[in-house]
């Protein structure tokens, strides 16, 4: 709510930064004719073009704001059903005085949309049919009625050239001044409603039970939201078309949902994405001759969603893949460190560093795999090879980390046998998993809870945290300790 200025800043940034880049790319690819068109688009000379742009901005804001709520309420397909269900209302509104009177169409379509949502509500509450079936039913039945009405209107002498068929796939170029006034009105109402009832909408979206318990009129909020949704669908009809309006509601909001965990940020981002895809779609359809606007807006929105899906900083697929990969690499490294420690321990820390042969025998891997893994360790400054490349020495950092991992493993084994009463021969696998994720605080608690035990269930020594801290890489290693520390 307090971020109003930010919204406009974001819009300005998007308009200024994103679009010319896109235009240049398209200009490079195709002939000068398109370039001229693009120039015409950005010079804003055309008054009808300005109307289209303003329309797509208003549309994007409204759809983004309302879409966010329906996405978090898991009612995305209600938007779809609603957008199909308004068609008979559009036809009847048109029939009112046989022109595309925006107000009549708006009223008719909103009533039809509300009837549709009520029909869904009634079907799910009075029969055993589930919500998805009810949505599909209402969507298709209302749409069929609408199709029949539209075709009957087109058959009339006055209806033939009415342009009512433009409602199917959208023709943003046909936006009239009254349309724009209506869009401005609806957008204002939606923004005001979201600002005023932000808290109520938020609570009833995320925790309906709590909202009811605190005395919020949840059903009224639901129907109010549906009313606004129907209005938003109707103003988007002219530009996007009946079939694809739902995408303008769902896609920008879902993209925003991938980028943030806070509702107010999601609202802002969704509105910005809605505007961006609206303007981009209008631009792309302007490049060609007589191309429908709606599908391009939808594709632009899907493109934004795809980008958020892949490259979102926290929930994006690439980021997630990267995190998983670096985690599994870390686990690999720590397992090798542990193996080196075990080799040294079996020799009671006498002799030189662990040889690759010994590591092979312990890890049951080939010498090449071990060599590869040691290289990864060396890259992280945890180990070095000897001159011949046949033995591994730990650096002080590597030694500290190796002891910490072994400590985690053995502490956990001890904890499972002592506290959870699991047989000692059943605890290894679990400890293998958890040794990599135990935090320092948990380890301290474990040590305290186990009375600073020094032996694990198999009789091996548990390195204590205090000792490991003393092995601070900056300090000299304890006397007589071998197997590490020779920097090459």
């Amino acid at each position: 709510m307090l971020r109003q200025p930010k919204i406009w800043l974001l819009f300005a940034l998007l308009l200024a930064g994103l679009l010319p880049a896109e235009a240049a790319k398209i200009g490079d690819l195709t002939d000068t004719n398109v370039l001229d068109q693009a120039w015409r688009f950005f010079s804003l000379r055309d008054p009808s073009l300005r109307a289209v742009l303003l329309g797509s901005v208003l549309l994007g804001v409204t759809c983004g704001l309302l879409g966010s709520f329906i996405v978090v309420r898991k009612m995305s397909l209600m938007g779809d059903a609603l957008s199909h269900a308004v068609l008979p209302g559009v036809a009847l509104g048109f029939l009112w005085n046989m022109t595309k009177d925006p107000v009549a169409i708006f009223i008719g379509a909103t009533i039809a949309g509300l009837l549709g949502t009520m029909a869904v509500y009634a079907i799910t509450h009075t029969t055993r049919l589930k919500e998805d079936t009810a949505l599909g039913l209402v969507l298709a039945s209302f749409f069929a009625v609408g199709i029949c009405l539209v075709k009957m209107i087109e058959r009339l002498p006055t209806g033939a050239k009415s342009g009512i068929d433009k409602f199917f796939f959208g023709q943003a170029a046909a936006l009239s001044t009254e349309d724009l006034q209506l869009m401005t009105g609806v957008t204002t109402v939606v923004i005001a409603a979201v600002l005023l009832c932000y808290k109520e909408l938020l609570v009833s979206s995320f925790d309906p039970g709590f909202a009811r318990a605190t005395g919020l009129p949840t059903r009224l909020l639901h129907h109010g939201l549906m009313l606004m949704l129907a209005a938003a669908v109707v103003i988007a009809l002219q530009a996007v078309g009946v079939v694809l309006v739902s995408a303008m509601l769902i896609t920008p909001a879902a993209a925003a949902y991938l980028l943030t965990d806070r509702m107010h940020r999601m609202l802002v981002i969704a509105a910005a994405f809605g505007v961006a895809s609206g303007v981009l779609g209008a631009f792309l359809s302007f490049l060609g001759n007589n191309l429908p606007t709606g599908p391009f807006m939808v594709l632009a929105a899907s493109f934004l969603f795809g980008a958020a899906f892949l490259f979102g900083p926290r929930h994006g697929t690439v980021a997630r893949w990267w995190r998983q990969r670096s985690r599994s690499q870390r686990v690999e490294r720590e397992n090798l460190l542990k193996a080196i420690f075990r080799v040294l321990e079996d020799r009671e820390f006498r002799g030189e560093g662990a040889t690759l042969q010994e590591l092979c025998a312990l890890r049951r891997e080939t010498i090449e795999q071990i060599r590869q893994a040691v290289r990864a360790l060396r890259q992280h400054g945890m180990a070095t090879f000897d001159e011949a490349g046949e033995a591994v020495y730990l650096t002080p950092e590597g030694w500290q980390r190796a002891r910490a991992v072994v400590r985690n493993h053995r502490l956990w084994e001890l904890y499972l046998t002592n506290e959870a009463k699991i047989a000692a021969d059943h605890v290894h696998a679990d400890a293998e998993e958890i040794e990599h994720v135990l935090g320092e605080e948990v380890v301290r608690q474990l040590e305290k809870g186990l009375a600073y035990a020094t032996r694990d269930p198999h009789g091996r020594i548990i390195p204590s945290s205090a000792e490991i801290l003393q092995d601070d890489p900056g300090r000299r290693p304890a006397e007589g300790m071998v197997g590490y520390g020779r920097k090459t």
Binding site: V71, K74, A140, Y257
Partner: protein, 352 residues
């Protein structure tokens, strides 16, 4: 208003179709029945598995598959659609491949989005089908001269024109128009598959755990169903378009499940609904002079509403009457059981 709705003329609406030009109307009704029945039989499983809206998604996203198949066909044929020669470009094999690919891609995309991110399944469905449908519409409008599809066909099909297609010839006799014959085949195949895999589909729809323990792979059944759904949808596409096909998928099964609880009976009611809505839709279309596919869906929706109100077991009206009579009978402890009738108030006890 009087211009909009033509005066009702019994002779013109009900008698003339079956006396003057009955062949044409017979084919239209048969086509409507085959479409609604094939879709309805498949749709029963969609309803049971709560996947009605996946059907919605696939019916939309078949469009780009078809558009690409037509493009490929016209490239292979080396020509553009010119007037009446369009029929040759509709290569059925390519169409089926395109539709199957579109269906599988839709299913995979929905799963990808909803498993690999925190977007919920409903939003994933909405995003997937709208993007694919948008691609389809753009392909159609950019390559309008190469793709034998127009926006009208996408929206409501042309079931009313089936009789104008060439006929299947067998031994010199004309059997049926090509689209009707094809749809009949799809319908028979659907029926055959439902019978052949009745048990597998039943178990995997109601209890996927049990299905897995019986050796039926629920995932395999899911993908097989989605593939078959794509085939049915693409066969019905020409007749009823991308959007009305959803009604054909859901309406018969939904009406049937209001009337009975037994799966075999649901199938019978589905077929009955398909037949009734085809006939009633035809007459409605003749009366109002509107697209036949749209009128068939409107008739089907009317039948659904009738079932909703009057269904003996779950209808609104019998339910109301039961509640009223239950209030009269003095058996307060059984009020909620729902099955109380004044004749034998002891039955609920037995049920408990």
């Amino acid at each position: 208003m009087t211009e909009l709705i033509p005066p009702f003329d019994f002779q013109r609406v009900f008698i003339e179709p079956w006396t003057l030009d009955w062949r044409v109307f017979l084919w239209v009704v048969l086509m409507g029945f085959f479409v609604a029945a094939a879709c309805g039989l498949t749709g029963v499983y969609l309803i049971l598995r709560r996947m009605a809206l996946v059907g919605d998604a696939i019916s939309h996203s078949v469009l780009p598959g078809l558009a690409i198949a037509f493009l490929a066909g016209s490239l292979a044929g080396g020509g553009t659609v010119a007037g009446g020669e369009s029929h040759d470009l509709r290569n059925p094999t390519l169409m089926f491949i395109g539709a199957l690919a579109a269906g599988v891609v839709t299913t995979l995309l929905i799963e990808l989005i909803h498993k690999k991110s925190r977007v919920k399944q409903d939003a994933a469905i909405g995003i997937t089908f709208s993007s694919l449908f948008a691609i389809g519409v753009i392909l159609i409008s950019v390559f309008a001269d190469k793709v034998d599809l127009d926006a009208d066909c996408v929206l409501y099909g042309e079931v009313g024109l089936v009789a104008s297609h060439p006929f299947v010839q067998l031994g010199g006799t004309e059997l049926a128009p090509w689209p009707v014959a094809r749809m009949c085949l799809v319908f028979l195949a659907t029926g055959g598959l439902v019978l052949a895999f009745y048990k597998e589909l039943l178990v995997s729809s109601f209890d996927s755990g049990l299905a897995a323990s019986l050796g039926i792979k629920p995932g395999l059944m899911h993908y097989a169903l989605m593939c078959w759904l794509s085939v049915v949808v693409v066969s019905a596409f020409e007749a009823v378009g991308a959007i009305l096909v959803i009604a054909m998928l859901i309406l018969p099964g939904a009406t049937a499940s209001l009337l009975t609880h037994r799966l075999p009976l649901i199938f019978l009611w589905t077929l009955a609904h398909a037949a009734l809505s085809a006939v009633a839709g035809l007459h409605l279309a003749i009366w109002l002079d509107c697209p036949t596919a749209g009128a068939m869906v409107v008739a089907g929706a009317g039948l659904f509403c009738a079932a909703w109100v009057f269904s003996p077991s779950q209808g609104l009206l019998p339910g109301l009457r039961r509640r009223l009579s239950a209030a009269k009978v003095e058996a307060p402890q059984f009020d909620d059981a729902g099955g109380v009738s004044p004749g034998n108030p002891a039955t609920p006890v037995a049920r408990r």
